[in-house]
Symmetry: C2
Subunit: 223 residues, 2 copies
Amino acid sequence: MPETIDVKQRILAANEAAAKLLRGRAEANGTLVTNLISSPGSGKTTLLEATVRTLASRLRVAVIEGDIATERDAERLRALGVPAHQILTGGACHLDARQVDAALQLAAFPLVDLLFIENVGNLICPTSYDLGEDFKVVLLSVTEGEDKPFKYPAIFAKAAVTVITKSDLLPHVTFDLDAVRRQVASLNPDGRLLVTSARSGDGIGDWCGLLEERLAAKRSART
Amino acid sequence: MPETIDVKQRILAANEAAAKLLRGRAEANGTLVTNLISSPGSGKTTLLEATVRTLASRLRVAVIEGDIATERDAERLRALGVPAHQILTGGACHLDARQVDAALQLAAFPLVDLLFIENVGNLICPTSYDLGEDFKVVLLSVTEGEDKPFKYPAIFAKAAVTVITKSDLLPHVTFDLDAVRRQVASLNPDGRLLVTSARSGDGIGDWCGLLEERLAAKRSART
């Protein structure tokens, strides 16, 4: 069915054009943009809550949330005083750059230091769509099993950072952290891997430190 | 982009035609076909392993596995002596009926009582594709959070059975089971909900009993 391929290529080309504009604007503003991707329930919103609690006193943070339905995730971030805009995709399994552009125009965020885009819960579809981010982050919770990087290789190869979440549950599950490290290293030799628990606080400081380093590096590269 | 919609409608129409053929063949064979759908890591393969251990002595079971990459899930089932065929979708986020038809021709399974199709790990894309199954089952692990039915309503509305998995982890996580029951009941008043743990065995008997009842009902409706 060659029309399918043509349509997909046209959609991706339109997305690339929108992503380029978004990236240029973030560069001009000195904003670090992070695209968070994972299965449903891996803890993206919970990681953002912990990030906001740690960094909001010294950095301006805003969030764009992508979901099939409900404003729940945006409400959780707003409850912490963070401007958050919810994109509802209807049935679509990922965000695209034009939705992010439209959301940024509606949200009228002031210039922020860190803009997080929490993608729709899905390890597959969001992989192909550039949202103008500085880097992608993939989350994997320790309850999901250690076979996931090789089973969903594209996102683990593309994400600059892999965040293992819910490490407080390690005593209660079978999860071979070394096997995950080896898979991620083989798919993505330059990637970083962090082990975190939003509940215990483990690794949250490293994650926030990484964000601050990348923000500083982006700004120093501009000057 | 109206071409996108036309192409999608053509794809779904072709899928429906293939699903109808599959359903007719399963009916003629007296095989109960179950389409298992969940996020990555919710425990589909682990539930199938527990099912096989319980039922394989009295029923003939076969499995079709769908994944982006790797034969791991099929190998886990084969290790239990069950014929299992792995479909590798490349990048695609769901199985379609034509892939299942091709797999059944390649797999050359003998006539079986229970055919399980384990879909690609994804709560969204598999929802729209009929695979000729008797019913869809959605799995939700207690580590994924109790907000998922309303956030991913289509699959919870369509699945005849919701299987809550990993109930042995309930003491270690925040998960409001009653809230999940209410959401599922509101989306799907006729649906069944089972609470299971493959590790402790809780609820596995109920799940296997449900499969045996549905198989018996299907066969008695034919005669």
